[in-house]
Amino acid sequence: MGLGSNSVHLSQFFRQLFFVPLLLLPCLAFAHAVEESQLHQHGIDTAQQLQNPGIGLDERLGGKIPLDISFRDETGRRVRLGDLLTGPTIILPVYYSCTNICNFLQQGLAKALPAVQREPGREYRVLSVSFDETETPQLAARYKRTYLKAMNAPFPEDGWLFLTGDAAAIRQLTAAAGYRFQRQGRDFVHPVASFVVTRDGMIVRYLYGMTFLPKDLTMALLEARDGKVGVTIRKVVGYCFSFDPTGKTYVFNILRVSATTVILSAGGFLAFLLLTGRKKRQRPSGGA
């Protein structure tokens, strides 16, 4: 039986084992070259990602937001930011008259907040801050009513404040958070993100996107309570965009053509196999 001589072969096996890396060397070298070029290209890619450098988000985890600036709440009362931070606080940079993402962002939060197992107002607070300096407390109050109602659950008035302010205060806050936006006509181009700060204004976490998991929020609030800086959960920053499928027709055409090619060649292959049938053999024991 063959196994008796296996141990003899084994030593040879190990002696020749060192040939394997040799054989693999060319592909490793190629692989490395590919990766090198990818790194360089990737640098350019990141720079091009958003043509406008005035828009974007640079995480300032561990940095502090200014506490001495003041805003107006939805009743028109002037409030100092530091006084509002009585515990972990979620800050949403938005503009109330936004017809697009800002609404979804706040709606997403309104949906998730009732499931957060912390007491709003006492254990945490939410601040929507308008970065449009022309917006008024009246407008803010209207949106506050909308979102508190949308929650379908009792939520204390002082648990979520809707702030407006002057351009200087807005810039100070957004700059401290690394949040860059730009006015375009009546609208703004801006990242879709919010952040969580501790009682003394330290940024502990950024939350991306417009849907919130209660678990993420609770985790962020727990960390803010303990003053722990968390890592970002979802790293991809979303932007307002519109997708036009007609503009990508050529892509779909490429896909269509390649799919047809694959199907036709596989079908042809099957037809060939079915037509030719089993290979005739020569007896005795002909080659396969």
């Binding site: 072969h9 290209q41 965009f241 007896r283 005795p284």
Partner: protein, 541 residues
């Protein structure tokens, strides 16, 4: 040494193949049995590495907060665990190892239709694997995207995604070529009298798998090329800021990757269909339906990819259709399960190691399949999407199903190729440990998911601690069973008691030739006169 093996001249065993010596007689061999063993060894190596990564992840999740690693390391671990288990172990492993070892013999052929292409497939697999492994240690470090490489993150992350994706692309070619080879072999090289109705069900399952490999893998290939183009050339195909569509990536990826799940599980079902009749001493119940359901699973399974994307943004109509088609796939799967159970009914069941693995496959795969319906129904999917429930479900299907069938196959067929067998008692103890550990590990994950613990986080809320600890302890039990199983298998195969031609008294062709088989498999070309499970026809009492 068994009398039957003694009657063959010693040089006839494929282990004593003349020609090249040492490692070259393996890595340049075109013998399907040697290539099969190459696949087996390499796939098991990647499996063991991925097991270590999995255990490390479980240790991290033993307690909330940072236990042994940070978030980035954890992200890399679950990515590499997934890539290795799927692309380097189970997808190439099943057709590559058992398909190569057993299929040509089962149809009465000397080898596969294209032996050199077969060797080339293994080489592509090894080159792809080497590139994937290189990606872990070079550039920006191991990829951290998850095995799905979802854009936009995979297009932007600084980690070594391009290289890893390129490796998977190469492994994909290996898969396509193996599929082509097997389809051609099954059509062209069947022995005289081996009609389609006499093909062992393992061959049928490989045939269905091979078509999935041929049709679906090119889509993965082109998708991965697009990701590389996105990263290197900035084509913007998936980038909404440049008019692209990130959802298109998910569609393309799942058009391959859902059928790929059937590449992983179909051969397993074939193994089970071969083992159950032998250990029940009864012909299989519903041969035609089992054979047909393999094709039905392959066909219907190609139309259900959208159920991975219920929460990604699709029209309600599309969700409805994908949800319906998902339920349709359950039908052929259930046909198989019912037929296996009917085969067991009034059978003379002997509970040896291959059968124990096959029976646990039945239970675990059924749990995996039924929890799959929870995910396939849009309403319930939205509740448990991206939670630990999905992780639990997937492991029930792929590990409880595919890998348990793989282990069953190792216990069933490896004695044929080594001519010796393992010790039965340790094999049973190992099975108990694996089965118990498996259920503790993954059932708790499903409960955790129901309670809202998301997947792919290194940290969790304090209320999930107890169950996570249980799951981690379960993983230790499972790994101890795994180590015992492998030690017993390999000790037994090298030093154990010799076996004769037909230790299990099976009726398929591989049991009619010596163990280990001669290089040409059949000294005299076989003429098949009976079905694969016709024990009386094969002259077995």
């Amino acid at each position: 040494m068994s009398p039957a093996a003694e009657s063959q001249p010693v040089s006839s065993s494929f282990w004593n193949d003349t020609g090249r010596t040492g490692i070259f007689s393996w890595i340049f061999s075109t013998d399907h049995k040697r290539i099969g063993l190459l696949y087996l060894y390499t796939a098991l190596t990647f499996f063991l590495i991925a097991v270590v990564l999995g255990v490390l992840m479980r240790i991290e999740l033993m307690a909330p907060g940072r236990t042994i690693m940070g978030a980035q390391t954890y992200n890399a671990l679950f990515t590499v665990h997934g890539v290795m288990m799927l692309f380097l172990f189970i997808i190439p492993g099943f057709p590559g190892a058992f398909g190569n070892l057993v299929m040509p013999i089962q149809i009465g052929a000397q080898d596969v239709a294209f032996p050199r292409l077969n060797l080339f497939s293994w080489w592509l697999y090894i080159i792809g694997a080497a590139i994937i492994i290189t990606s872990l240690f070079t550039g920006g470090g191991p990829p951290d995207t998850g095995w799905t490489f979802y854009v936009p993150f995979s297009a932007r992350t600084g980690t070594n995604v391009s290289l890893a994706v390129f490796g998977v692309f190469i492994v994909g070619f290996s898969s396509i070529l193996t599929g082509l080879n097997f389809v051609t072999t099954i059509h062209r090289l069947r022995a005289d009298g081996m009609t389609w109705g006499r093909l062992p069900l393992f061959v049928w399952s490989l045939y269905a798998t091979a078509w999935v490999q041929i049709l679906a893998t090119p889509i993965l290939g082109i998708t991965l090329v697009l990701v590389i183009a996105e990263r290197l050339l900035g084509t913007g195909l998936f980038d909404p800021a440049r008019g692209g569509d990130p959802l298109m990536y998910q569609h393309l990826f799942w058009i391959y990757s859902h059928p790929a799940v059937y590449i992983m599980i179909l051969p397993g079902m074939g193994v089970i269909s071969d083992i159950i009749p032998v250990f029940s001493r009864k012909p299989i119940f519903g041969y035609k339906m089992i054979a047909f359901s393999s094709l039905a699973i392959a066909a219907a399974g190609s139309l259900v990819w959208g159920h991975h994307m219920f929460t990604s943004g699709m029209s309600d109509m599309a969700i409805l259709v994908f949800s319906f088609l998902t339920f349709v796939v359950a039908i052929p799967s259930a046909i198989k399960v019912f037929n296996w159970v009917s085969t067991l009914y009034r059978g003379s069941i002997s509970l040896e190691a291959p059968m124990l693995f096959a029976l646990s496959f039945l239970l675990l795969f059924s749990i995996g399949g039924l929890t799959g319906l929870i995910l396939g129904a849009a309403a319930t999917d939205i509740h448990v999407h991206d939670t630990q429930f999905v992780v639990g479900h997937f492991h029930y299907v792929i590990f409880g199903g595919g890998v348990f069938a793989f282990f069953a196959g190792m216990h069933y067929w490896l004695p044929k190729f080594y001519g010796r067998r393992y010790a039965e008692k340790p094999a049973i103890v190992a099975w108990v440990l694996l089965f118990v550990g498996f259920n503790i590990t993954y059932f708790t994950m499903m409960v955790l998911g129901m309670k809202g613990m998301p997947r792919r986080y290194y940290d969790y809320l304090p209320e999930f601690t107890a169950l996570n600890l249980a799951s981690t302890v379960g993983s230790w039990i499972m790994v101890s069973g795994l180590l015992l199983m492998l030690a017993n298998l390999f000790h037994g195969l090298l030093r154990g008691t010799p076996v004769g031609n037909n230790p299990w008294e099976g009726a398929t062709l591989e049991w009619s030739i010596p163990s280990p088989p001669p290089t040409e498999n059949f000294v005299v070309e076989p003429v098949v006169t009976h079905g694969p499970y016709d024990f009386k026809g094969a002259g077995i009492p």
